[in-house]
Subunit: 403 residues, 2 copies
Amino acid sequence: MARRIWKDPVLSIPDLKSAPAGGVRDEIDPTYGRLAHFPAEKPLQMDSGSVLAPFTIAYQTYGMLNAEKSNAVLICHALTGDQHVANTHPITGKPGWWTNMVGPGRLIDTDRYYVICSNVIGGCMGSTGPSSINPQTGKPYGLSLPVITIGDMVRAQAMLVDHLGIDQLFCVAGGSMGGMQVLQWAAAYGDRVFSAMPIATGPRHSSQNIAFHEVGRQAIMADRDWRGGRYVEEGVKPQKGLAVARMAAHITYMSDAALHNKFGRRLQDRAEKDYSFDAEFQIESYLRHQGSTFVERFDANSYLYVTRAMDYFDLAADYGGALGNAFAGTACRFCVVSFTSDWLFPTAESRSVVHALNAGNASVSFVEIDTDKGHDAFLLDIPELFSITGGFLEAAARARGLG
Amino acid sequence: MARRIWKDPVLSIPDLKSAPAGGVRDEIDPTYGRLAHFPAEKPLQMDSGSVLAPFTIAYQTYGMLNAEKSNAVLICHALTGDQHVANTHPITGKPGWWTNMVGPGRLIDTDRYYVICSNVIGGCMGSTGPSSINPQTGKPYGLSLPVITIGDMVRAQAMLVDHLGIDQLFCVAGGSMGGMQVLQWAAAYGDRVFSAMPIATGPRHSSQNIAFHEVGRQAIMADRDWRGGRYVEEGVKPQKGLAVARMAAHITYMSDAALHNKFGRRLQDRAEKDYSFDAEFQIESYLRHQGSTFVERFDANSYLYVTRAMDYFDLAADYGGALGNAFAGTACRFCVVSFTSDWLFPTAESRSVVHALNAGNASVSFVEIDTDKGHDAFLLDIPELFSITGGFLEAAARARGLG
């Protein structure tokens, strides 16, 4: 399955060889998948007031777009995810990050739906980000890239969806920061989203969430190899700082109970304490491994930009202080899912979305799933998650006339 | 009040000028307070099997020891605390860390009790720690200091209490890591503790707790100025790494609700987002301040040692796998206190101590205080904390014949 993507027949939409002057140019890359290069004539207007042009979106598609163009599903990735949602990752060699949800015969069935997943603007897997070359200077952007928001990410995705000739997405789905994008899609492009599945997310980033992100950013900036963000052109990498940032964040993705069950106080490869600063406990060894493998696939400046985008997310504030305004009169169907042990995006955050949707008489299903797996549950094999989202999608598909 | 301590009449016990050969030598230091220098003939036997000799304990005392020597209260400090529990801190100029609990007319009344507080072994406020000079080499210990445990800290305290001529402490009290020491005292020296107040603590460090400590240690070790722990002799300081460690830890000391109430998503000194990596949010500014002030008073290697001591703490494991064994047959009276919003040492940890004490028919009061202040509540003005511990202490004082 992994390699199938590169020969996908959908590559003919749009035609790779026929970009008109001023049009979007398509490209295929062995690492990034599809690249849509948006020319200077099609700039990205950013929430900060800046303009990004030209810019590129890297994305993957799976399956076939039907003749009515009504079967497209957009998957939005989380902080450190990317477009490789359902194929083998070209760098790590690991399965796509949501293969238990997306693929042939899966719940989001690529034999039935046309699935799109794009790397966010600000990321490091082919979409324009801080390590991209600034055409004005010929050097990597570094911190000269304007700060990015969830709104910017979604605006860029909408331009991609336009480019693919799709008016309305059948579904937009994602967890964590992906769920923020789902909510942003529903708020900003309500008529272009038939159904939405925001999972393990919330309508804003909390003070505690910002705090953890700030620790990660300070860890990166404390690394002398960060060089004020100019490490790419100076030929170094702030890997130690980025690893520490990842370790701190990773704790927040798991529950106390999950850590206890998985590692407890068990020692790593030894029968007795040896009273040292080695990774004596399994949890230490696990965290160090998380840090060291992460730096092989992720860019430190992208980590700054993407965490910052999450911090700025506050949908109610963007809509006059009332979350209900964000979804006023929406015809979109929602399936909101939270997990009992998720302390990064506790159920109260999802519930505030549901209350806002209820107040506007929107169609909404809401389930809090009982699990001790913590925030990362949205990525795991949780049968209740599949049965709930599966039932929701099936009903939505019938309503949309997708047999 | 702050300076009173330096002229305390109790300084005559033991006499500063009359240490016999091979005896403990006393000294007064303007920063550290009292120093008890234990000679090579009085080594500290460590849990790791190592021996620390000679070694020094820095401590403060407040009030007068009565003729029966029955009114001594030992206060145990937390991870980043020190002996300056009730006097102005000589480095920061701030009040002692528990002045709302300890002082003249306070609940732990220095007009009534003889209060002792010592800097833990491994610390950086005068007790022997990694920045102390290793007499074998004439250079700072750095990482050549043996790894320290809570048991070692308490064993050293017991030697100090011996030196002060006190057989039994009226009370041992402390929160967080201080509470671990209280439990260790009750377990290892049950007949030397009349009453014990372990607050916001637990009988072991959880997997999640170890994880957060490991992040802090990795942040320090990632700082190029750490120099493998030899930064003191090389004339630098890993301040950025230590600041990141403090920031990460500080988040765990507060509850999500406390952060929300105190900072929310409010911006720092600006009306609008300016889309940057500055400390735009108040929580960011607060955390950065916590980090930058901490490095002025704390040593990075001590942070490694003292966090490691907490990680190793597992009282049940030390007593044959059953926590009840640790307190078997104890005559000590216990007052165990936890806080509803403390997610670092949740109430379940305190409850496991209470169950173990109940199983042994020990005298134990247990209260879970409803507050949103998180772990740090033990340091704050929480009226319920004062009323509960005050009532417990008063009853214990009567039972001990302290009018």
